[in-house]
Subunit: 492 residues, 2 copies
């Protein structure tokens, strides 16, 4: 792969000077359109051999273009806030919003490559990361991002020349130290690994572009022209890459039997027993949250359910067992404009808890496959791919030690009607009822199908759904608390 | 002060049970209105004697109210991202947006009080913080926040009783350890300091409310009722506290001579000298940014100036001396809706650089006293108070080791007209010119007055303005670079 680019590409000074002004003008043009219409974000990865000029390339782009909507991220060692969260959190928080260009030096690829080359980790370890990255980039592309991954390449000889050159020059000698020469010595270790990584992760929607970097003028021109061409094409066609394979049918079992209509809604609890069990499980939960083992974990609890199923009441009983300093409740309503400018999971990533903390989502990312699906707020392709994106998201959390607990609170049609009427009548509950709630009742069956699909497709071993029969509030609250206690006991 | 509340307040169980349901309904009502109309944020500080029940009080509020728009912040040790920025950054990032309630345990007061009581710092040290807090809270109140500061008080005897009680009970004994008994032993040290702090920082717009906390029912009711009353009153009147003293006149020297019309706009540089000096100062700046000393500092550079004065071109020459990994350019346009829900300085605080980094603001917080003043986007009282708020902001940065550099790029009326015409004619510059730019020209005099006032009021020793004669682009760029080099050399 790399041999194919070791061709001694070079650009003369005259050609360079002739080409740059026109290129700059075109770059500014597309950048203006990008910033003006904000149609999509551009994600550039600048990776490659150390010494191939990653920094110079980006500095040049910044000088040629309008640097105000280009943001470069070096991503050195993670901060402690980053270490407390899943590994990709630090990239999510730096993702460029629509209309701007985000540059990642090395990016997510650096860490596992280094761990394999220098840290003695196996190729399987590396590959498991690559798999995640493929899925992550697929999701970004499906969300509209334009992704270009540059690998700046130098042959071993060219690298030696380059380091010696930098070393000799008084102005740049500080850039070449023991670390750089060590990396040079290990060039032969890097090369096959880099080939492997590039081969495995170069896709139509997020291609690797290998750029021979011995001649800096050729390197700068190639990167800039590639960027120009890609942005221009996307601006003109507006087309985003088509998802590789989109299953177009929702699950259909054909016999009318589904998860929701086979639940036993008559389950209930006597008030006296409820009170005893409430105290019991709140005590148990409180103790679990204060245990030493919990300090290395955190909780992400998702509450979904029919309107008026009692999500709020259940959440109150859960936090009744916790100190207000350890939890945060995130009610999910309409996204803010900063959130709208990002992939749809971004607004959930930003709230992930640090260690020893809990975040409770009152509605969640499942809106994508519930309300957005039923109301047609997103395309079928969008909600169909959401199932696996959500599974990936939850797997990343689980792998990091976050305990993901998900509740669907289910009530019957009749019970919902009764509760709506009660809310209309009761003073301090009336604000809980909106016209939309009434409208949603007309789509009861569509919502039910969506719920069944959701549970089937996203109830995983690491993040199982608990469907709660919630016609009896007492029964539902206790089932929620009990489930939470058992999960924590199993995981800690 | 504290004797006055040591009255043995208590509420019987019967009275409590009778009062709570009605209180809860009222709390939910005001909270609904708050969340619905989003008229202002509510900031609650819960401070006081350790053991007085700060956590229980907030837990109770959360249970009585809708916990979804109450966010409690314990603010333990700062994270490394927080340590890299001015001390108040961690509070700014947690400020509740309009419509929600933010609870700060201990809050900004805790650290300096502890440093005085346990850390041997002088009372002057403490007072200098209190002064900052007064100004901070004044600003928050002027921006519309409702601020209530609760001090939960226990007499020494009551504290002893409470700790013994907790210690005896199997369910709560974990809460009483050596630390708690040590604090008890030092009660007499805390008490006069707390009195001092409360006396100095209780204001009409951010009052301290001392709550006797020996009886938890009395404590809970008092805090909740105070909150209810305060929010209700603000919702009804809509009135925010009037700024203590607002000078209503802009500066007027009466003789027509001002900073801008006495500049020598004929200053210029020959192209050859420009190129030499550009290389010289970029080299110097590059070296300074790479110096070891800089790693403990950071740069906040502000670029303001007339339309078409060459801010963008100057910024390009500054970043030409830096690596793209160390800087971030923040162009200031219309605020996002998340930003609009916060005090106006919030959108700048969020971008402050970590150590060893630079943030370049292309337009800045000075918009408040320039465009917002001239166009009437904010009231006179708002922009008049902005001068001192801005000075406070920059002082906080400077105290933390951030080097604050501010440039006003000034061109003449005629020069601006010539540049506008050139932009209209030039392909890749045409997008730089908008109808608004033409309209702004009609308000040239109003903008000039605003600029003169701004420089007079906010050019401080720690963050001086550099007014740059910018009719010659070459001259301007070199002056900017030279100023930056000299400031860094002086500060490092």
């Amino acid at each position: 792969m790399f041999e194919a680019v070791e061709l001694g590409h070079a650009v003369s000074k005259a050609d360079y000077n002739a080409e740059v002004p026109k290129l700059r003008e075109q770059l500014l043009d597309i950048q203006f359109e990008l910033g003006d219409k904000k149609p999509f974000p551009v994600i550039l990865i600048i990776s490659g051999v150390d010494g191939a000029g990653k920094g110079e390339t980006v500095n040049t782009l910044n000088f040629w273009m309008d640097p105000r909507n280009i943001h470069a991220h070096a991503m050195a060692d993670p901060s402690d806030e980053e270490l407390e969260r899943p590994a990709m959190w630090r990239y999510w928080r730096k993702l460029p919003p629509r209309g701007s260009i985000g540059v990642f030096f090395g990016s997510w690829y650096s860490h596992p490559m280094r761990m394999h080359i220098d840290g003695g980790k196996s190729i399987d370890y590396l590959d498991s990361y690559l798999d995640d990255f493929l899925r992550f980039e697929r999701m970004l592309a499906d969300e509209g991002a334009l992704i270009l991954k540059f690998w700046l390449h130098l042959s071993k000889d060219d690298l030696k020349k380059r380091l010696s050159q930098l070393d000799k020059d008084k102005a740049t000698t500080w850039r070449v130290g023991k670390k750089e020469w060590d990396r040079y010595d290990r060039y032969d270790d890097l090369r096959p690994v880099a080939e492997h990584v590039l081969r495995r992760t170069s896709t139509g929607h997020a291609p690797w572009i290998v750029v021979e970097s011995a001649d800096e003028k050729y390197r700068n021109l190639t990167v800039a022209k590639t960027l120009l061409k890609a942005v221009k094409a996307r601006l003109e066609t507006g087309a985003k890459p088509i998802a590789a394979s989109v299953p177009v049918q929702a699950l259909d079992h054909g016999d009318g039997i589904n998860l929701l209509n086979t639940l036993d809604y008559s389950k209930s609890l006597d008030k006296k027993i409820y009170k005893e069990q409430l105290e019991h499980y709140q005590g148990r939960l409180n103790k679990l949250c204060r245990s030493k083992k919990f300090r290395n974990h955190s909780i992400v609890a998702v509450f979904e359910g029919n309107d008026a199923a009692g999500k709020g009441g259940s959440i109150r009983r859960v936090i009744g067992a916790m100190d207000s300093r350890m939890y945060n409740i995130i009610p999910i309503a309409a996204p803010t404009d900063e959130e709208k400018a990002q992939p749809y999971l971004w607004r959930f990533w930003r709230h992930l808890p640090g260690r020893g903390k809990a975040v409770i989502f009152d509605r969640s990312w499942y809106g994508r496959v519930l309300v957005e699906r039923v109301e047609g707020y997103c395309s079928q392709a969008d909600w169909m791919r959401a199932y696996s994106e959500i599974n990936d998201f939850e797997e990343e959390m689980a792998r990091h030690g976050i305990i993901v607990v998900k509740f669907w609170l289910s009530i019957t049609d009749e019970e919902q009607l009764a509760r709506f009427k009660e809310r209309e009548a009761t003073g301090y509950k009336r604000f809980k009822l909106t016209d939309e709630d009434w409208r949603n009742r007309d789509k009861w069956d569509a919502y039910s199908s969506a719920v069944c699909d959701m549970v089937e497709r996203t109830s995983t071993e690491i993040a199982p759904w608990t469907v709660v029969e919630a016609n009896s509030k007492y029964y539902a609250r206790i089932k929620v608390l009990k489930t939470l206690c058992k999960r924590l006991e199993a995981e800690l």
